[in-house]
Amino acid sequence: MAQGWAQIVVFLLVLTALVPLVGTYLARVFRGERVFLSPVIGPVERFAYRVMRVRPEEGQDWKAYARSIVVFSLVSWLALYLLLRTQGIQPLNPEGFGSGPWNLSFNTASSFVTNTNWQYYGGETTLSYFVQMVGLTVQNFVSAAVGIAVLAAVIRGFAARSGAALGNFWSDLIRINLYVLLPIAFVAALVLVSQGVIQTLDGSTTFNTLAGGTQTLALGPVASQEAIKELGTNGGGFFNVNSAYPFENANSFTNMVELLLILIVPASLTYTFGRMVGNRRQGWALYAAMMAMFLVAVGVVYAAEQHGSPAQHHAGVLTHAFDGSTGGNMEGKEQRFGIAESSLWTAVTTVTSCGAVNAALDSLTGIGGLVPLANMGTGEVVFGGVGSGLYYMLLFVLLTVFIAGLMVGRTPEFLGKKIESREVKLVLVGVLVTPLLALFATALAVASPDGTQSIYNHGPQGFSESLYAYMSQANNNGSAFAGYTGFVQPNAPGNAGAEAFSFANLLGGLVMILARFLPMIAALAVAGSLAGKRIAPAGAGTFRADSPTFVVLLIGVVAIVAALTFFPAFLLGPVVQGLTDQLF
């Protein structure tokens, strides 16, 4: 385990060292300042404003900002839905896949527009290169940019000294795509290709294997999508088995690059926040709270997976590590990643709202499988989705400030701004929408025959699959206990007789949309309400939010809200499995 922990610690040190660099760059982009890429990208940016007829300096209040987001997302959704439904008549479709059914396309369009990237379909057996590029890759970029833009607007609200303007959504959208996501994704894609991640427009290839069989390899423009899929915390794989597949994640170097891509933006945004509100300690305090919760998550899943599973122990398989063998629960894991990197990835992908996987989550041990569920139960505030993680965390910060204010009997304030009744009500809406949607959808799914047809495993694992499906979609995560089925392809890749379950596809799609946009609008409303408030200088009686005490309190509030909401549900699924050696 020492070897495993060394990898994890070194990785996190590299991440932490990059946070101030990337965080500073992001702050400059948010402020519209010149950066080193301006000479190249500036002309493209100005061209975009001209064709869109946008004046970037024209500020929007929170309502206008939110309206632009909703309209943009709606248009995105329609465009993607149409692309999916007309796949059969489009070019770049070497395998000749047909158009998507309405229910699956509803789910998929909702999934990619909300930055969830939940997939009921298998990429290489369902989607053409054209849809993967023109449909999904585009939404991988822009849905991530929307999340980051909202955070930029929210930060401006916290930092504003007067007025109601939170920035201009269209300008934020363009700048974040052009200056942040596109350049990093381009470089990262080429790094991945150099290691063996594929990037081609050729159709699949078939050959005779060494032992006299045949093997067909699906190909495609994978690296360009892989890079943005991680960077934008999207997570929807080109291949069905996602980043476990060697053509998406070739070796332990690409694995580390991809993990870094997932965390770099959400982690750095804490620094960006501190910088823009003029209190860097505050940024680091949020980073510390997130890192502390993350370490617990990775520690628990690593220990549980290294221990092995009851299925292994009953079969008489020894799960101790010894020279030349990792030991542990290697079911659904790749040799090149082993237990440590599979565990690290599982924690990273579920604290962020990425959802890409490099191991099979359905085959995790009971306690190992509890960790991703618990991570999502916090509402994805531990780093979280790009942008969304931090604006969600800021809602928790206000909640903590409010609770602390009640305890000491003073008017709560954060960064010199008074937190009053209106803000607290909005915070509660923002914090509670997601868990309510997750739990109601799960209850509906396990209590109705339409819902239970999606379940694959027996016993508590079947419940875990359902809970995971709706937790994942409500938190816009997208990872899955992949036994949970919404689309069957008996003759994949021919697709004859394929059938999508309307219940699972529609319920999931609705949950993703509501859980994405309601908290987002609540966060913007809070920022709009804070923007106009006077900043009072800190006095001796001010409860400081950048202190270690506050960090502990914040972690406590996040953990208590998650535990109070989800504990009964966790007991029925993963906890039962973690406590028993019985087979089902």
Binding site: A48, Q199, N240, V317, T326, N329, G368, N457
Partner: protein, 198 residues
């Protein structure tokens, strides 16, 4: 209402512009550069023998229990490279436990004649579990060292030569730190075949 109409127009133009940039230009330029700079890797790292493709060094294949070859890990997908899925059986699944038991029995039956006294406790976990991708190109070093006895005997090669080949085809940790060492089964088997024809 006016603002809404303006938003709709702006959104439509934005989607067209961003689609051309991010959905067409970005993947196509990436493809172009990748094909020029890394032609082998971008097309699937294919391995050829006498000008014929026999596999990809990144994708494991089924060696069908042929005793002269090192065997890959169990696969839930029969080593499919075009229909991928996980096994998806839970940690307390009886079906999965039975599967492990069968794999363990088969492994011992195959290797024990060449490793006298080989016990279940010495079988590494990767030999009984399915990988995530279904096409894991690697097996653990411990697994390869056990199989080396069989391959050496069947091919009438000195064991030390086979073990040297195993070492040669072991992909180590990145920077000696990240990931786990693994023996690339296809490349190892190819090396054995080539040695046989020398």
């Amino acid at each position: 209402m006016n603002g809404l109409r303006r938003d709709l127009t702006t959104a439509a133009i934005a989607i067209v512009f961003l689609t051309l940039l991010l959905g067409v230009a970005y993947p196509l330029v990436t493809t172009g550069v990748a094909q020029l700079a890394f032609p082998g890797a971008s097309n699937g790292s294919k391995v050829e023998v006498d000008g014929r493709v026999v596999g990809s060094k990144l994708i494991g294949q089924d060696f069908k229990g042929l005793p002269r070859y090192f065997q890959s890990r169990p696969s839930a997908t029969e080593y499919s490279g075009d229909v991928t899925y996980f096994n998806n059986l839970g940690p307390n699944s009886r079906e999965l436990s039975d599967f492990f038991g069968k794999q363990l029995g088969a492994y011992l039956k195959r290797e024990r004649p060449f490793n006298p006294g080989l016990s279940a406790d010495e079988v590494p976990v990767d030999a009984t579990t399915t990988s995530a991708s279904g096409v894991d190109p690697h097996i653990s070093v411990a697994n390869a060292r056990i199989q080396a006895h069989r391959v050496a005997a069947v091919r009438s090669l000195p064991l030390s030569d086979v073990l040297d080949l195993v070492d040669e085809h072991t992909d180590g940790r990145f920077l000696a730190l990240f990931g786990e060492p693994g023996v690339n089964v296809l490349r190892l088997n190819l090396a054995l075949d080539q040695r046989g024809t020398e």
